[in-house]
Every structure is written in structure tokens, then in C-alpha cells.
């Protein structure tokens, strides 16, 4: 008897289907455009993709879009940097120093579950209606995932490597800098990704209160004036911001963690 041996695990391999990805996105846009062109749906509810594109181009040329974008990016970058840096510092401290852990763990556990958006009115009371309260709410939103992820990353640092470092003369700060931080880096980047999502959300929320600039303002204002096409431009820009930050962080991660990139 002859039994042909075939690869029975073939269905477990996952081909990449690059073409399909493009088709999925294009398909959605084309279907949307087609729907808009039938004229059955009023432009007020669903402007066509081409219409949004044209409006976006117009806003770009007039400088309106750039103004909003710069205002938003400023808040985003500043909040992200402040919250991220504070999160890493607190995460390392709580993860490494026993005293900091005793103080930090209950405080973090108590404040972490608060939806940060609920703090916005409080922050406005404290810091006023201007930029500081907007930046602060974004920083807070980024701080928590960063602190918690850094803490986890620090805790996952291999005790063997720490002992090896000490065996070769490393003191406390060397161990933190040369063993604990690089060990925690993958978790820190995971925190940055989480933080990026939260930051975008809080940005839009913050820009819906008492500002005259920013993508969030653009979306809210256009909505109030029933300028749906403009509103859509704002949403598309927000989604682009999300995608770009994702790519940018991925690129930065490969740059910062070269020992993983090649594996």
C-alpha cells in the first residue's frame, strides 16, 4: 500500500495577502463615493469622499487646516512628552525602590481608574481655560499607561542580568541605566502606543471646550454649523494622526530596540 504524505499543517500558515489590504480600503472608499453619487443620501449626512478631499485641499491652501493642525500638534506633543517622561520616572522609581513602591502603588491604584476626561473641568478650574489645562489632561492620560507599563517592564528585568552587572562593578544607577531601562524598553514602547490613543481622545475632548483652534474645535464647530464636509475633513485628519503616530512609534521602536528588530 502506498500512502502519499502531504503537508497536513498547510492551513496553519498565514499568507500575507498584501493586495487584499489595499482592495479593502479602496473598496470602502469607492462604495462610499458610489453611495454619495446616487444622491439618495443628502450631503448633510454623508458627503462624498471626493468632496471631502476637495474641501481638505481648499482648507489646506487657505491655511485654515494648518493652523488647526499646528495648535493640536503643539498640545499633543507637549502633553505626550510631559506625561511620558513623568510616567517613565515614576514607573522606574516605583518598580525599583521599595519605599517608592510603598508610596506609589496605592496612589496609582486609587487614581488610575479615574476616567481622565472627568478631570478636565477640575483642571480648567485649577489651570484656567488656556493651554495649560489642555496639555495637562493629555499629560495625565499618557502618564498612567506609561507609569504602569514602565513599572511592569522594570519588574520583568532579569535578576540574573542585574547580578551580572553588579558582578562587573555596576552600582545602583548603572544597574538602572544599563540593565533595567533597556529591559523595560519594549514595555515602555507598548505604553507609548496605549498613550498615543488616549492622547488623541483627550485632545479632541479638550479642544471642544473654550478654544478657537485645533482639530477638535474644527470638528465641533463644523458640526454646529452643519458643515458636514468640513467635519469629515477633521475626522480624516484625526484618523491620519492616529495612523501616523502608530507608524512613527513602530519606526522609533525598531530604532531603539535593535537587538529585537533582527530576531
Amino acid at each position: 500500500m502506498r500512502i502519499a504524505v502531504v503537508n497536513r499543517a498547510a492551513f496553519l500558515t498565514r499568507p500575507e495577502y498584501r493586495g487584499l489590504r489595499v482592495v479593502a480600503v479602496l473598496g470602502l472608499v469607492i462604495a462610499w463615493e458610489a453611495l454619495a453619487r446616487t444622491g439618495r443620501v443628502p450631503v448633510l449626512f454623508l458627503p462624498s469622499p471626493l468632496g471631502v478631499l476637495a474641501e481638505g485641499w481648499e482648507m489646506l491652501r487657505s491655511g485654515e487646516l494648518l493652523g488647526h493642525l499646528t495648535a493640536s500638534l503643539q498640545r499633543l506633543v507637549l502633553g505626550f512628552a510631559l506625561g511620558g517622561a513623568a510616567g517613565v520616572v515614576v514607573g522606574v522609581a516605583v518598580g525599583f525602590f521599595a519605599a517608592a513602591e510603598a508610596v506609589g502603588t496605592p496612589l496609582l491604584a486609587a487614581t488610575f481608574p479615574i476616567p481622565k476626561i472627568a478631570l478636565l473641568p477640575l483642571l480648567i478650574l485649577w489651570l484656567g481655560l488656556g493651554e495649560p489645562s489642555k496639555v495637562a489632561v493629555i499629560a495625565l492620560g499618557v502618564f498612567f499607561p506609561m507609569a504602569i507599563n514602565t513599572f511592569t517592564g522594570v519588574r520583568q528585568a532579569d535578576p540574573l542580568l542585574m547580578r551580572a552587572a553588579v558582578a562587573f562593578g555596576a552600582r545602583r544607577w548603572s544597574v538602572i541605566r544599563k540593565v533595567i531601562l533597556p529591559s523595560a524598553l519594549p514595555m515602555i514602547f507598548a505604553g507609548l502606543r496605549l498613550g498615543a490613543g488616549t492622547a488623541l481622545l483627550l485632545l479632541v475632548a479638550a479642544e471642544m471646550i473654550a478654544v478657537e483652534s485645533g482639530i477638535g474645535f474644527l470638528v465641533l464647530h463644523a458640526g454646529n454649523l452643519m458643515q458636514t464636509t468640513k467635519l469629515m475633513v477633521g475626522i480624516v485628519v484625526l484618523s491620519l494622526l492616529g495612523v501616523l503616530s502608530h507608524w512613527g512609534l513602530g519606526w522609533l521602536e525598531r530604532l531603539a530596540i535593535p537587538w529585537r528588530a533582527s530576531s
Partner: protein, 257 residues
Amino acid sequence: MRVVVERVSKLYADRAGHTLRALDGIDLVVDAEEFVAVLGPSGCGKSTLLNLIAGLLAPSEGAIWLDGELSPGRAATAMVFQEFALFPWRTVQANVEFGLEEMGVAAAERARRARYQLDMTGLAGFETKYPHELSGGMRQRVGIARALAVGPAVLLMDEPFSALDAQTRQLMQEELLAIWERTRKTIVYVTHNIHEAVYMADRVVVLSRRPGRVLAEVKVELPRPRAEAMIAEPAFVHAVERIWSLIRDQAAQALRE
């Protein structure tokens, strides 16, 4: 540099809070330029003993000191780990430079000394590789180069080749012996392999099962430099048999448990 371990005991507290005696009253002197193997079943406290000598743990009882002159720019001890313990985020070169960095050696001098050790350990051409890109044997070479780079007076080796396949282990043993012939460091070499201990060392210190006590010290009367053919010589066979008879009961007990 001489290593003196005097009546050292080490107690650990386990998870349940019970104290566990890992080492019990260890007396051990390793002379300058001597190659001593510490042999014992797993769990008998060999790693604990090395960590104590390296100053990575404090003895619960007794004292440990190093005797001799230490020239500047050199470390007293350096360790080679069983699991290699290389820093995955550092290239081969940067791993070897680690100890020198901590000693405050200037960058150019660091690179020079690391390069020298990389040549000595057959790692030339691998400087920019990361540990995960290397085979086990290559990784342990990096571990040895990192230890030698700080010019230690005492080299502590914790089962350095036990994670390697038999052929690689044999080659690495010979390379280590060649390095020792050249540098004549004091070496404390931990192993659970009787043949390896006898083949490498001037003297084998045999530890009992936990709590680790010194059962006996067996001098190996084989000439240097050692060669593979010596494993057939009466002195080799005698030493192996003597050690085996010492620990055979212990091993049998362990099997019954």
C-alpha cells in the same frame, strides 16, 4: 591572589518563611594561580558559594577574604555564568566592555582591551553581533571575554560549559586551559561533572548534598599542560574513582528521595 573562605554558612529564607541551610561551615583556601574545581550535586550550594566569593551575597556565618596585591585597573574577581548572562541589548563588543565601563576606563582603552580579549577567545569578526545571533559556544566565549577583560585576579566560573553540547564543551575546556596556562589566574571552577573537574583542576573540592559541606579535597596528580590523552592515565582514573566513591552514596540517596 588567594581566596580564603572561613567557616562560611549560608541560610536562605524560602517562600514559606522556613530557613534553609544551603552551605554549612565551608572552609576553603584557593592559592594564587591555583585552578580549583568545586564539585557537588545540583542544589548543594555551589552557585551560592561563588556568589559569596564574588560579593553578590553576604555569608550568614563566617568570613571570606582575598589575599594579595591588586594592581590598579584590574578587578579582584570576575564571574562567568552558567546561563551566560550576556546583556541582550549590547553587541558582543559592548558586552565585553561592560566591566571596563564600570571601572571608569576611557573609551579608547576600553575598545583596545576588549578587542584583545575578543581575539584571544576567537570572537574576532563578531564584534557587532548581538548575543541572540550567536551559538551557545560563542555566547559563552563572550562571557569569558567579558570576564577576562577586567583583568581579574580571581576568575569565578559557575558551570560555564554545562549548557553546551559535548563536543563544544570539550573544545571550550581546552581553550580555557590554554588561556589559564597563559594568564595563570586563580580560578574557582564550579561543576557537577567529575571528569571535567579532574581534567581541568589542580584540586577538586567535593561538596556534600544540601546543606553543602566539604566532603573531601582531592589533589589531581596530572602534569600540565593537560591533554585529552591523559584521561586514560592511572592518576586520572584514580581521582575520578575516589570522587565517585565519595559521592555515590549521596547520589543514591538523592535518587531514593
